[in-house]
């Protein structure tokens, strides 16, 4: 889809990008990462020709971009930047409509498209189309920026630190939404960041750059388990085993959990324990409401009396969580097993600490 061949950009004496070759497949998310000044932005901006390379060639769908009219090229590539760059004199509607208007779309089509996009990024169209950028929060502005980049449904999206200017909590939410949106739109995305966790979370492949050169280009799993050089090893940090866990969903590690209904008689409950010391307690709707120690249960009259109540939100994790979150929650609670629940807090199963350890060990090789 996108191919960079020996691309170099020089500014006088400084070489911003040095003989960089990179291939990004259709529908892939490629994250460019590296220390400040290593040439990430320059690389990104050469793809849509905001910067012309000093040497080398860039192909999109097999066509040399240098042979395409620069403005036409950019109309077919979505572009989102860190500062968002929403036009302050235009409403949200007009901001998103910029590219469709440049492409002379019919008005009805633009109206429909803007509505779709706002829904896609999770904003209620009626509430937002008439607002001006100065009336938006940072997170809302970022989402409008993404909607604007997607406006004309370009196959390619370039994003320069798109979640850089918001607080960590909002950033995490935007990242989750990014993953969700990408599942739906399936674009070829080149994203620049200097946040490794973000890269690990979002990327299909990570391109690590060091002073203008590409030093490793691999999937996050491989970058974390087999860093190719000392630079990459230092860059990913000593906690790379932990970081790897954030790439792994708990889904594949869920095992059936021993559970009892809160209204079950003591005898039945003890019988279903089948050797387990601890049992999860659910209510009639299968929702997790606490746990019970079989030792206590033996000395009590009923399950209800023996139960330790716990808020499902605090004592469990969602099935969409990662192993890293599972591990963190276990350490926090001091559990060796953590229950997994669905969106309505119904117990699905549990994840064992031992299995997480095993998963960490697997990647060592």
């Amino acid at each position: 889809m996108i191919r960079l061949e020996q691309v170099t950009k020089r500014y006088g004496e400084t070489t911003a990008v040095n003989q960089l070759s990179l291939e990004i497949g259709k529908g892939e998310v490629c994250v460019l990462i590296g220390p400040s000044g290593c040439g990430k932005t320059t690389t990104l901006r050469m793809i849509n020709r905001l910067i012309e390379p000093t040497a080398g060639r860039i192909f999109i769908d097999g066509r040399d971009t240098a042979t395409v009219d620069a403005e036409k090229l950019r109309l077919s590539i979505g572009y989102a930047i860190q500062s968002v760059g929403l036009f302050p004199h235009m409403t949200v509607f007009n901001n998103i409509a910029v590219v469709p208007q440049l492409l002379l779309w019919e008005n009805n089509r633009i109206v429909r498209r803007v509505g779709e996009l706002l829904e896609l990024v999770g904003l209620e169209p009626a509430d937002y189309i008439r607002k001006y950028p100065s009336q938006l929060s940072g997170g809302e502005a970022q989402r409008i920026g993404v909607a604007r980049a997607l406006a004309a449904d370009p196959p390619i999206l370039l994003m320069d630190e798109p979640f850089g200017a918001v607080d960590p909590l909002t950033r995490e939410r935007l990242q989750a939404q990014f993953i969700h949106i990408q599942k739906e739109v399936n674009k070829t995305i080149v994203l620049v960041t200097h946040d490794l966790d973000e890269a690990i979370r979002l990327a299909d492949r990570i391109a690590i750059m060091e002073s203008g050169r590409l030093v490793q280009y691999d999937s996050p799993e491989i970058i974390l388990s087999r860093p190719g050089s000392k630079f990459v090893r230092d860059f990913v940090g000593a906690d790379r085993a932990l970081k790897r866990l954030s790439r792994i969903s708990v889904k594949d590690f869920i095992k059936p959990a021993a559970a009892v209904n809160v209204n079950q008689p003591k005898k039945e409950a003890l019988a279903s324990a089948a050797g387990h010391r601890w049992l999860w307690v659910v209510d009639d709707d299968e929702q997790l409401i606490g746990w019970v120690d079989t030792k206590t249960l033996m000395q009590s009259v009923s399950t209800k009396e023996a139960m330790d109540e716990g808020d499902a939100v605090k004592i469990s994790i969602l099935e969409s969580a990662t192993l890293r979150e599972a591990l963190s929650r276990m350490l926090e609670l001091g559990f060796k097993h953590i229950p997994v629940v669905d969106d309505s807090q119904r117990l699905i199963g549990e994840v064992a600490l031992g299995d997480i350890e095993a998963a960490t060990a697997e990647g060592k090789g």
Binding site: L50, L75, S76, Y79, S83, F87, H89, L102, Y132
Partner: protein, 249 residues
């Protein structure tokens, strides 16, 4: 409940009507000035009615400011483009020079070339009003944040599209402020046109100075001051209507 904006325009409209009524009412002026200056034999300049003088004055200002805007804004835009950037220092120098030059001197130089009357006056007013327009156009365009231009070009706008869709709308208020200053300067400076027979509110003032008649001077100066205030309010209202949020301004 009318918005603040509508109220401003309404007040301006009322002031305008009051102004026209005031200058059309020669009798009122005569009575007033006679009361103030009982010693003078004539208190109203005989050349033309006040209405005509004001109208001549407005024409002078409108034509010269029109030319200033039509040439000044494109000039400011051009020297802000890559193609004209080399001329930026020259243009700013010339326009500032145009303003430091006394308008009377411009007239003196222009008369041999353009003759008496309207033409040299308009030339002088044009030169005199150019600086604020050009300077504000340059400043307004310069103040457009570079990341917005980056976004504009990155989305596929051509230079011209970026200029009309992003740069000019964003600098419109600053440019208009320059126009406002220029027009106000011209309303005052247009007085000198009377020296070489261009008419306007300068006529009674010159006559008043020559004949030592304070009544004439007031007959010229007062409407000119009112005119300047009205023009200022009018252009301020336009400026405010360009504010680009729907929050109350």
């Amino acid at each position: 409940m009318p918005s603040k904006k509508t109220r401003r325009w309404f007040i301006l409209g009322v002031a305008l009507v009051a102004f026209v009524v005031l200058i059309a009412n020669t009798g009122l002026w005569e009575t007033g000035l006679r009361f103030l200056f009982p010693g003078e034999t004539t208190v109203i300049h005989p050349r033309a009615s006040l209405l005509v003088l004001v109208w001549e004055h407005i024409q002078l200002v409108a034509i010269s400011s029109g030319i200033t805007i039509i040439l000044g804004i494109p000039l400011g835009i051009w020297v802000s483009r890559p193609s004209g950037r080399d001329f930026l220092p020259i243009v700013t120098d010339i326009t500032s020079f145009g303003q430091t030059f006394p308008p009377v001197a411009v007239l003196a130089l222009a008369v041999p070339v353009l003759g008496f009357g309207l033409m040299p006056t308009i030339a002088a007013l044009f030169l005199y009003g150019l600086l604020p327009v050009v300077r504000n156009t340059i400043a307004g365009l310069h103040a457009v944040p570079s990341d917005l231009l980056d976004a504009a070009y990155g989305m596929g706008m051509s230079r011209l599209q970026a200029l009309f869709r992003v740069e000019l709308p964003l600098s419109a208020r600053v440019i208009l402020a320059g126009v406002r200053v220029s027009v106000i300067i011209n309303i005052g400076t247009a007085m000198i046109g009377a020296v070489i027979g261009a008419g306007g509110l300068g006529s009674p003032i010159i006559a008043g100075l020559v004949r030592d008649n304070l009544a004439f001077i007031i007959e010229g100066a007062l409407p000119a001051a009112l005119l300047a205030i009205l023009a200022d309010q009018f252009l301020t209202n336009i400026e405010n209507s360009l504010a680009y949020t729907n929050e109350p301004v």
